[in-house]
Amino acid sequence: MELMVLGQEKNEDKPAGGCSAGSCGSTDDQVNRLPDHIREKVENHPCYSEKAHHYFARMHVAVAPACNIQCHYCNRKYDCANESRPGVVSELLTPAQAVKKTMAVAANIPQMTVLGIAGPGDPLANPERTFETFRELSEKAPDIKLCVSTNGLALPDAVDELAKHNIDHVTITINCVDPEVGAKIYPWIYWNNRRIKGVKAAKILIEQQQKGLEMLVERGILVKVNSVLIPGVNDEHLKEVSRIVKAKGAFLHNVMPLIAEAEHGTFYGVMGQRGPSPEELSDLQDACAGDMNMMRHCRQCRADAVGMLGEDRGEEFTMDKIEDMEIDYAEAMVRRAAVHQSIARALAEEEGRAAPAGINVPATSRPVLMAVATTGSGVINQHFGHAREFLVYEASPAGVRFIGHRKADQYCIGDDTCGEKESALTTTIRALSGCEVVLCSKIGFEPWDELEKAGIRPNGEHAMEPIEEAVAAVYEEMGAAGMLAENAAAAAA
């Protein structure tokens, strides 16, 4: 199924976004314009393709504990420097254990197509451990794609080694291109056997990141850039970052929200730096030339995540369980190939399905955001109360498009601090702000009432229906009920 391309004209005459030719448009439009060899790589990668992530799964292994920089959104007493989500500790594995775990998961979850190393430190600050894992896997499990995330400091030195192991996806976290901004994000780096602080440190880090990016692109290795949106620190600046990294050949730019709470013990958490609201995040993603749609489904996975994006099956594959598993990988590979083929067929079928007819509402209708509870496969199939995240779609006269996902428990750090039902519901309602409808398979009376009070209409009538069709149908109903006139928004709220 093709996602409709919306707001493209609007984006194209928006000079501030500074989009370069070939990178404007939305999800599939952007994928379609990529060179064939890149498109092939992207199409069944769950982290890059909104469509693929309904069907394929990825996993991360935590083999790289050491880091060579400090970020203000990270606390090394917990975990990962390369994402904005502190507070989860991964099970540290040796390269041999990581290889075993990956093959065990691949044999049991044939949809698992991608193995990433993202931490908990910086994979390239632990080059032996990272490369040993990659080397063994490319030998023993050649049907698994490899990818790696890095802060970029050690990247230029690692590029040749990366190219050797045929690692085709590299993610660089780039939060700034201006050392003055960088000094507010990175307190220090370890560089040439010294700890370096402040603007000088940020300048070196930025130079290394940019050099690494250029070197990877030169070698034809796919580069994705992640940025953490930190309100008041780099929010406006990220537009510049986006322009530069795309001009240099990064094929995707993914903006993620800062998550900062005092209990994480991070600089930002303790100093009261807030994260962006869902609207601020969405606005910035739009402002960066509107071509980040592909990454709007990013889930900020933890360093040892296993499974489909948004679900974590790590518990099934702890080291003690894996030790006992017998894996016949040759046999598994045959099964995996069959599963991949049937998924490819399903994707092709979706592709072939006639694009939904234009939405039947007046052309002046205002756009509406709707939240969807789903466990995947592109249909509405989750109970409201079970949803830990919602997909958000925008319906407008031009069609339905995927906007992003909202975590219902984004700000919870554990059951003991957020076990209260009322407060969990309040958090969910806050996470859904801006949405007028929430589509789910079922919903209880109590949340129904609370949602209505908050101006969000629950709707369980489209259970098991394809998401885009259901969103379009509800939008048309709203149109028929006269709820889509320009000034109806205020009335409805």
Partner: protein, 92 residues
């Protein structure tokens, strides 16, 4: 003369590969420095390498027992601010 690692170490491995004297070893509950091997990096580097990469304030001590990286020096969080935040979390 030797540096030492104490219990606030989080076993992050960063120090181990950068030591020129092979003095650091993976131990539990936390990493350790072999006092017989540690040279404080003299003759190799201007700064002790372990203390230059360690991300945890107070985890590595000099031979007088003083923190190589005192509170606030790495995170930039003023110690009073941290105490305040901790007190507030405890009170919840």
């Amino acid at each position: 003369m030797s540096l030492s690692i104490i219990e606030s170490c989080v076993n992050c491995w960063a120090c181990l590969p950068v030591c020129p004297s092979d003095a650091i070893y993976d131990a539990r509950p936390h990493f350790m420095i072999d006092a017989g091997k540690c040279t404080e990096c003299e003759g190799d580097f201007a700064q002790p390498q372990c203390a230059s990469i360690c991300p945890i304030e107070g985890a590595i001590l000099d031979h007088f027992g003083e923190a190589m990286n005192p509170p606030g020096s790495l995170t930039g969080i003023p110690p009073e601010k941290l105490a305040e935040a901790m007190a507030e979390i405890q009170a919840r």
